[in-house]
């Protein structure tokens, strides 16, 4: 089915958001490839090599895992401002247990996950039972989690001296975040598209009233949604511990906005009912490439926030324009 015009290509891309973000990612990598092309022949390309890509993946995966949760929650009509704080609190808990409590690393990580679970339960309680708006509920959790992190860590950072060749399920530590992110991406993609729960989450985000009248148990599904979001944030925290080998209450500051931005770039609509897990992961990779790529350009690191902001606004504008065209047509 050959496209007969640019317009058709654009329309297909807007309907298959994952491919358009992937295209943007490829273009971005191309731009950095060109910008950082070595001046002399024979010199290694500082950007376009395996180590840098591994670094980008590893760096992005902390955001990416939580962005999966954000995509799910935003599709369900909610929002989560707490991931950054939960991530930090998780690293603190792992640090305290491992270093001060003598707990072996794997159980410590499992207990770190509990932080995420509790966070998710707390949010569900506020949103489903007390019926607070998710924005307020997760804002509250964010502040509480940061505060707890500060108290538990006594404002000190905890160094995790993990063995160099640590492996989990046969995967070496440096590659673990990447593997986890990819596995979760596939799992949650399937979850959202092919299971009744994912479908009901999307329905609630699209029209909660209609979903309720169609027999969806809105309370239970929302509970599941925020709980899973909490687990993902906790997992992000575990990965950050592994990557940074650190436990500090002020890690991951501001991550929640990058996480939401990645989800939105990946196709999530803040009005609910639309979103893509694959898109969110690619979105976090886009920002990861940007982050790492800019550090390699002298003096450009400062521009990261600015460019991220512009990219997000541009994509949201594009979304609006295509949406308007579609509603005019109907």
């Amino acid at each position: 089915m050959k496209p007969s015009s640019w317009r058709e290509v654009r329309q297909w891309l807007s309907r298959h958001r994952e491919w358009s973000v992937f295209l943007i990612l490829c273009l971005e990598i191309l731009v950095f490839y060109v910008l950082l092309y070595p001046d002399q022949p024979g010199v290694r390309h500082t950007f376009f090599n395996l180590e840098t890509f591994a670094l980008i993946f590893r760096n992005s995966s902390v955001y990416g895992i939580a962005a999966i949760g954000a995509a799910m929650i935003i599709t369900g009509g909610g929002i989560d401002l707490a991931p950054g704080a939960i991530i930090a609190l998780t690293t603190v808990v792992i640090g305290v247990l491992f270093v001060h409590g003598g707990v072996p690393i794997f159980p410590a990580c499992l207990l770190g996950l509990v932080v995420g679970i509790l966070g998710g339960l707390f949010t569900s309680f506020l949103v489903v039972t007390i019926k607070l708006p998710p924005f307020i509920a997760t804002l509250g959790l964010m502040l509480i989690a940061r505060g707890l992190g500060l108290v538990i860590s006594r404002n000190e950072q905890i160094f995790l001296n993990l063995p160099q060749h640590l492996r989990f399920l046969g995967i070496p530590l440096p590659l673990l975040p990447i593997a986890v992110m990819l596995a979760l991406m596939l799992a949650f993609h399937w979850f959202m598209l092919r299971t009744p729960w994912g479908r009901q989450i999307t329905a609630i985000g699209g029209n909660e009233v209609a979903a309720k009248f169609s027999g969806v148990r809105v309370g239970r599904i929302k509970l599941l949604m925020y709980l899973l979001g909490g687990v993902l944030a906790g997992l992000s925290g575990v990965m950050l511990s592994a990557v940074e080998k650190l436990g500090r209450f002020d890690l991951a500051t501001g991550y929640e906005l990058d996480i939401i931005a990645a989800a939105v770039v990946g196709g999530a609509s803040l009005s609910g009912g639309r979103g893509s897990v694959l898109g969110a992961v690619i979105g976090s990779l886009i920002f990861g490439v940007l982050r790492i790529g800019l550090t390699q350009i002298a003096g450009a690191a400062n521009y990261e926030r600015l460019i991220v902001g512009i990219v997000v606004v541009a994509i949201v504008i594009m979304d609006q324009l295509t949406a308007r065209k579609e509603t005019k047509a109907a």
């Binding site: 092919r194 299971t195 009744p196 479908r199 009901q200 999307t202 329905a203 985000g205 699209g206 029209n207 009233v209 209609a210 979903a211 309720k212 009248f213 169609s214 027999g215 969806v216 148990r217 609509s269 609910g272 009912g273 639309r274 579609e326 509603t327 005019k328 047509a329 109907a330």
Partner: protein, 499 residues
Amino acid sequence: MTETLIALREIQKSFGATRALDRVSFAVARGSVHAIVGENGAGKSTLMKILMGIHAPDAGQVVLEGRPVTIQNPQAARALGIDIVFQEVVLCGNLSLLENLFLGREQVRRGRMLYPGMRRRTEELLRTVGLHASPDTLVLELSVAQKQMVQIARAILQQPKILILDEPTSALTQDGVEALFTILRRLHQRQVTVLYISHKLEEIFTIADTVTVLRDGGHVWTGPTTEVGPEGLVELMVGRELDLSHRARGRQPGEVLLEAQGLAGEGFADISFAVRAGEVVGLAGLVGAGRTELVESLFGIRPLRQGSIRFRGREIRRASIPDRIQAGLGLVPEDRQFSGLVFSLPLQENVCLPEVATGKLGRFRIARTREQAAARAAIQAMHIVASGPEAEIMSLSGGNQQKVVIGKWLGLRPKLLILDDPTRGIDVGAKAEIHQFIRGIAAEGRGVLMVSSELPELLVLCDRILVMREGSLTGEIPGESATEAAVMRLAVGAEKSMA
């Protein structure tokens, strides 16, 4: 005297591959009440949106008072003296009646709002449309019919040259319809031209002097209403003959499905009745009688203050909505866009949502082939016109959207289906299909409780008609002996005859 106010010349409009209007041309005389009829998808709404500047035609011209005009947007349309009252409610629920009426055209002097003047005008307008409510009432507190009257008031506020009404009586009952006709007659006297889109042929013959028939995007006929009769009109619209006069044949009702005793809630009190298997029970009454409130309490949307509801022998008063659905209850709500459809999901996923939610299409994995088959079955059974199971809900016409809302219950086969105004704003052909669907449910030994403001529909479908007035049940009429007059008498109260 038959000066043309607006003429449409060779108007064409396509949306992608769909040709919505194909070289439509006709003229509207000044001061006439000009009806536009046609099945869903015939192009009526699209044509009106072009007149209102919401769409631009691909080809053709709109000629106003002899001059071709380009209407860029609704403000431009209003500046030209064209205004419209939509079928769907487009008011701001969180604002009051007064604020909605004057939204965008508030009376201001030097930055301050002239409330006394606006308030007086609001009260005047509300009296004209027959809405008994305070200007400070929030719109979200009104029923759908009352909201529609507010929309009509808003449109006549600026005294337009030409007023377009898109299915204005779809949410009104007899009182409201008569009030509307009085307004229209008044406007007619002031030489205001009215374009009236409706499926209700009796109304067209009462109020309109000219009628235009559209079919499949093309213009079929325009002429005086005196030159054509209702059957002729239907034939022109549909291209085939339709028989809507099937009376319900007396069926032997089976077991009691629903038993309501002493129900009281917000808007109704002391309601007791029963619905049996194989019955179609109608619920008639004027706007504000409490029918929607009662039906929402039966389904679990509104809380019940008193009374008991037994469904197939079990008390369901405290059951949640999903539990009631699991037990075998289904609801087609009054406001389909707001409570019936999820616009971000395609047709297939909307139609199958109750089955997915109750686990019937798989507990851990949605069985895609079964889902597609169920969706196709629903599309076929309800004759839904769409590009396929993957169609966006937004791309369907109002009538087809309503069929999706009803079609949601095909798969679950609830023992009792409750419908609130299911054929509101739906064309003749689709209405007949929905009626057939309702009869089919009863024939299978299941039950139907149907709220409707359309007496002919109730007379044709129901085995029994319950009538409500101001929150209480005033009577019950068996189907065979039901007449419009008998129902109206109970709906309006014998007191009227004393006045």
